[in-house]
């Protein structure tokens, strides 16, 4: 795992990373301005970006911290509603959009801290059901609150989201999460995942770290909710129920837990399956479900479980090199 690197190694990677970010931004601007891509392709890219943010957030708790949580639909709902209210009534100008994104994230963050409290005591399936309950209680509250349109949902949310906001937020969240994971804090998270009692014995502050991780995860998922409500211009409680929970789980575990590459790969793969097979109607869910089973049977840890793309490429190159050396040796013999 690429977690034991010292800080100096981290610093030397900053320049190539910055270059990569620059290239991505240039590509995006070029693609959008040149009108090569049709609006439906742009929409798919939007979805991939938004769900990548969401899945990175889920991954922090479900992957890095190793807690099976189902609260993501709830955070997403809170983020979507809070930011929608903010930009509909208070921040109505487009340049104020960051403020309403931030409000969505912060509102979700508060709920993340609330969910973190039972996670100190309750474990495993029992915690899963509490987080599920949290999501469903929120859904039910939104369904009965006439202020946000009850079960009809909110309409006429200003359409502020565009591809720059989405990928800007995505790059920012990737940066924040990688920095976090590769720091001392990240090593404490790993220690808690592997053995909570042992982590406590080497004076890791389990309580503080768990609450922080839950809060950051909720913040990221809340941001994705804010983005999606401003992309679709409406939000309804029905969108944040079982199907959202299941889709989030699929994207996390398809890509592989404990990996940012995995999170992006998982959300991209799943959104592509859903959007490309649109002509098949409901059969696409059958296709998607069976693909999920097949991938799980072949790769039980997901495609990038606890691996990043850099590590995978390096391993592959190493294997090729080993193979060549072996062949040379056998030729010589």
């Amino acid at each position: 795992m690429a977690l034991k690197q010292s800080d100096s190694v981290q610093k030397s990677r900053a320049v190539p990373r910055l270059i990569a970010v620059g290239i991505i931004v240039m590509c995006l601007i070029a693609l959008e301005r040149s009108h090569v891509l049709s609006s439906s392709v742009i929409l798919i890219l939007d979805y991939i970006g938004i769900y990548s943010i969401c899945v990175i957030g889920i991954n922090l708790v479900n992957g890095y911290l190793g807690v099976f949580s189902l609260a993501h639909a709830g955070y997403m709902a809170v983020g979507a509603y809070a930011s929608a209210i903010a930009s509909k009534y208070y921040f109505t100008e487009e340049w104020m959009f960051p403020a309403s994104i931030l409000i969505g994230g912060l509102a979700a963050l508060i709920f993340g801290i609330i969910v973190a409290i039972p996670s100190m005591k309750v474990k495993g399936d029992y915690l899963a059901i509490i987080t599920l309950g949290f999501t469903l209680i929120l859904q039910s509250i939104f369904q009965n609150m006439s202020f946000v349109g009850a079960s009809q949902g909110m309409n006429d949310i200003p359409k502020f989201t565009n591809i720059y906001w989405i990928f800007g937020c995505l790059l920012l969240s990737i940066y924040v999460v990688t920095t976090l994971i590769n720091s001392k804090f990240g090593r404490s998270i790993n220690a808690i995942r592997e053995d909570q009692t042992a982590a406590m014995l080497v004076s890791v502050n389990v309580k503080r770290i768990k609450i922080t991780v839950f809060a950051i995860s909720a913040f990221l998922i809340g941001i994705s909710g804010a983005l999606i409500s401003h992309l679709l211009a409406y939000t309804s409680p029905a969108a944040y129920g079982f199907s959202n929970i299941v889709e989030g789980l699929i994207m996390v575990y398809l890509g592989g837990v404990g990996s940012i590459t995995g999170a992006i790969f998982g959300s991209a793969a799943w959104q592509l399956i859903i959007q490309l097979f649109k002509d098949f109607g409901t059969w696409r869910w059958v296709i998607g479900g069976s693909m999920l089973c097949i991938i799980m049977v072949i790769l039980p840890k997901g495609v990038f479980g606890y691996k990043e793309i850099g590590g995978v490429v390096r391993d592959l190159l190493q294997k090729v090199r080993d193979y060549r050396v072996k062949r040379k040796e056998s030729d010589n013999v």
Binding site: K121, D125, I137, S290, C293
Partner: protein
Amino acid sequence: MNIIIQQLINFLQLGSIYALVAISFSMVYGIAGLVNFAHGSIFGVSMYVLFFVSTLLFKTIKSTWLVYVAALTVACVVTSVVALIMERVAYKPLRNAPKISVVVSSVGVGMVLEYLLLNIAGSRALRMPSLIPKIRINFAGLPIPLYKILIVVIAILAMVILNIVVKKTRLGTAMRAVSQDPVAAGFMGISTSRVISYAFVFGAVLAAIAASLYGTAYSIFSYNVGDSIIWWSFIAAVLGGIGSIRGAVLGGYLIGAISVISPIVLPVSSYKDIVAFAVLIIVLLIKPTGLLGKNESEKI
């Protein structure tokens, strides 16, 4: 007085159905150590099999009881076969993998089954023919729906038979051994793999029985009928202590009671979800392994 008795019967009916599904869910969990998210779709499959077989049979046979037994038998066989195939294809290759991969695989299986139902049978809501004759009798001036009581009796009968099988037979002993410690059970000469397959069959049969009772009680259903049932029985199983049969029964009746009582007391009917979850969260915060659960390591 009349209303109280009606609600009492409604509570018993709903609680029995929840308890039955919760047991079937809990059994697979206890023995295979897996939260089987595909179980709701198994329930849905048995619903559709019951519907098609019984409508077909009602054209020739007049006796409701005969049709009920025949349709239930067919449903049990079909769902058992589906569950066995599911276990063989999606769970068995993952026996040594991390638990969470099996859970995700079960999500995939559930999705496949549910949308197959949607594509084959259509999205419109169907009406189940009443499998138990809807007789009402007057007892001391009060109209008592006899069929609701019959539903409760059938459910309790199924639970008692299951309890006898688990407690008294060789297979039941093997099941309890596997649920306690699969490795040690393997050393005692128990074929763990076969016991797990049996657990899936038992779960499917119980789901089919519950589906027949649910169909009689509520009649209208569509392709996603299993979704809410399975989440509520998951909650019931966890509330009582997952993996324990008595816990599942207790949890099922508790959830049934909440579902029946809270719409009467509270202004909005959908607040019952909030009440149920609030009870659940409070119980888990006080007793983290459910009401009758044993303290053991986590299984996910």
